[in-house]
């Protein structure tokens, strides 16, 4: 690489990083606050369990708890542990990383001249959440959720849904009311002090900043090194461009609050369907999320999530290409 090219790549890297970092900070701040105000209580169990209304309600919760996908996983775990219906919790898990004001704002900031993207991205995220929630809800909870989470969840679910034997909580034979009081006491943990909250937020920021650096390096190098005719050849092919951008979103693993800025680097060279596919798939599944999902789902459920998300996004991307090209 010539020194001039290297200098340009370095400048692009800095531009991406400095542009995205404030949005990352906002996302982490909100996810930290969301964890501090972590949802619990009876209202969670009253959320709808309807196969369509549930995911839609979960998706809408993203506006109340606007975290990116990394901050979202612990909140979704808390929802499940406090007895939220599966449909709602899964809807929240898969759609809320896109359906929140920070992500909408960053998408608008990156693509102010493409209003269709501001509509298509949330709509696509809801569609994906509906499909994934419907598929995963067909699995028994014992095959879907991690054993530790399942035990926590069964403690708060009513006895009409979970038998005492399934609870395995050491309170078998005790007065059911006492068992519920025990579970409720376990939930009433005091809010952590401010220093702990700050520490958690800063840890999250530093780790995500490292991922952001990685993503910015890839985007800057691709923009500078890959010749434009190559980018146009791959990016101009309807299906190939979608597959290429989906692969990129899986590898880059960048947070949904800043992924629009990375997409900006490829926007001029790829089909609109590929652009949307990049923005839809990353928030649902990527390399980083596979690890995070381990606290929620069993491996089989993670596999179903990954494969289904890729297929749904591919279909959405193709449809958008038919519509926009």
């Amino acid at each position: 690489m010539s020194p001039g090219r290297l200098a340009t790549a370095w400048a692009l890297f800095q531009a991406l990083l400095i542009e995205a970092m404030p949005f990352l900070l906002i996302g982490v701040t909100i996810s930290t606050l969301a964890r501090w105000l972590s949802p619990g209580g009876k209202w969670v169990r009253r959320l709808p369990s309807h196969p369509v209304l549930g995911p839609l309600t979960g998706a809408a919760l993203g506006f109340a708890l606007p975290a990116c996908e990394c901050g979202n996983v612990p909140v979704a775990r808390q929802l499940l542990a406090t007895g939220a219906p599966l449909a709602t919790a899964l809807g929240f898990l898969f759609a809320a990383p896109v359906l929140n004001p920070i992500v909408v704002a960053s998408t608008w900031a990156a693509f102010p001249n493409q209003p269709w993207l501001l509509v298509a991205r949330p709509v696509g995220a809801v569609l994906i959440a509906l499909v994934l929630a419907t598929l995963l809800a067909r699995l028994p909870e014992s095959e879907l959720l991690q054993p530790a989470l399942l035990e926590e969840r069964r403690l708060v679910l009513p006895l009409s849904r979970v038998s005492l034997l399934e609870r395995r909580s050491g309170v078998i034979g005790a007065d059911p009311l006492a068992a519920q009081a025990l579970a409720a006491a376990a939930r009433r943990t005091p809010r952590p002090p401010l220093a702990e909250i700050l520490g958690h937020g800063s840890r999250e920021f530093i780790e995500l900043a490292a991922l952001l650096v990685f993503g910015c390096v890839i985007a800057a190098l691709v923009q500078t090194l890959v010749p434009r005719p190559w980018l146009l050849a791959v990016g101009g092919a309807p299906t190939l461009s979608i597959l290429a951008l989906m692969l990129l979103s899986l590898v880059v693993s960048v947070c949904s609050s800043v992924d629009a800025f990375l997409a900006l680097g490829f926007a001029a060279q790829v089909t609109p369907g590929a652009l949307l596919a990049f923005l839809l798939l990353g928030p649902v599944i990527d390399i980083k999320l596979v690890g995070l999902f381990g606290v929620l789902l069993r491996p089989r459920a993670i596999l179903i999530t990954g494969v289904s998300a890729v297929l749904v996004v591919l279909v959405i991307g193709q449809w958008v290409n038919l519509w926009r090209l």
Partner: protein
């Protein structure tokens, strides 16, 4: 025999790599603040985002100070320590090595789709129009002869065009340097002088003219005076 020299040690609360987290936060905050102070933001980002960068820089520095006072939180694992060290090295690199992009290189790898900003201003006298305003005006009007003879006074960087004379160009951005789109005007450079070099910033005085190329008439600037200028503080245009 002198007194034994006391080894410099960190306070106990910051041992075990716990200093790395506040250092990382502080450095990223410093990166954002220094970008504003040094004027890098003008080169990298559209102005509308600058306040957000300043505020984030201040927040990160304050968070770093609070972490430092609080002892850096839990001791990082070896993996976290590696990530933290990597972040520290990159942040120091960004602080020390300023961006020096080649606008010509950047433009060569981009499309020429003009941003559809509602910025057309027909009231500005021709001699006061910027390069971008000229490009927008010429693209909005199909007849190049309409402006032939108008005085032109513009500045921009030299953009080599394969198979053609170098153009004078500017980069337009919606968000940051990453989505920069070049706009340029063909120039009939001063006769008998060597063609300008790529990336040179020039101020050009001349008149609008037309020429035939590939059977079509296009607008071209006939240069009368060309002066080399330093890159402007705000080289990107919306």
């Amino acid at each position: 025999m002198g007194e034994p020299v006391a080894a410099v040690t960190l306070p106990r609360r910051l041992r075990g790599g716990r200093w790395l987290r506040p250092l990382g936060l502080g450095l990223w905050g410093a990166v954002l603040l220094q970008s504003g102070i040094s004027g890098r933001l003008d080169l990298l980002l559209r102005a509308v985002f600058h306040p957000l960068v300043w505020i984030s820089g201040v927040v990160l520095v304050v968070a770093a100070l609070l972490e430092l006072v609080g002892g850096g939180g839990v001791t990082p694992t070896p993996r976290q320590r590696t990530v933290l060290l990597l972040g520290v090295v990159v942040a120091i690199g960004v602080l020390l090595v300023p961006p020096r992009p080649s606008f010509a290189d950047l433009a060569a790898n981009r499309g020429r789709e003009l941003l559809d900003e509602p910025g057309l201003n027909f009231v500005v006298p021709p001699g006061q129009r910027t390069l971008t305003e000229w490009v927008r005006l010429l693209r909005s009007e199909p007849d190049p002869k309409l402006h032939a003879g108008d005085p032109v006074r513009i500045s921009g960087f030299v953009l080599p065009v394969p198979g053609d004379r170098p153009q004078l160009a500017r980069l337009l951005v919606r968000c940051c340097l990453v989505d920069a789109t070049p706009v340029g005007l063909p120039v009939l450079w001063l006769p008998g002088r060597p063609l300008p070099q790529a990336d040179q910033w020039l101020e050009l005085r001349g008149v609008m003219d037309t020429e035939r190329l590939d059977g079509q008439t296009r607008s071209v600037i006939r240069a009368q005076a060309v002066r080399v200028i330093p890159r402007p503080a705000r080289p990107l245009e919306p």
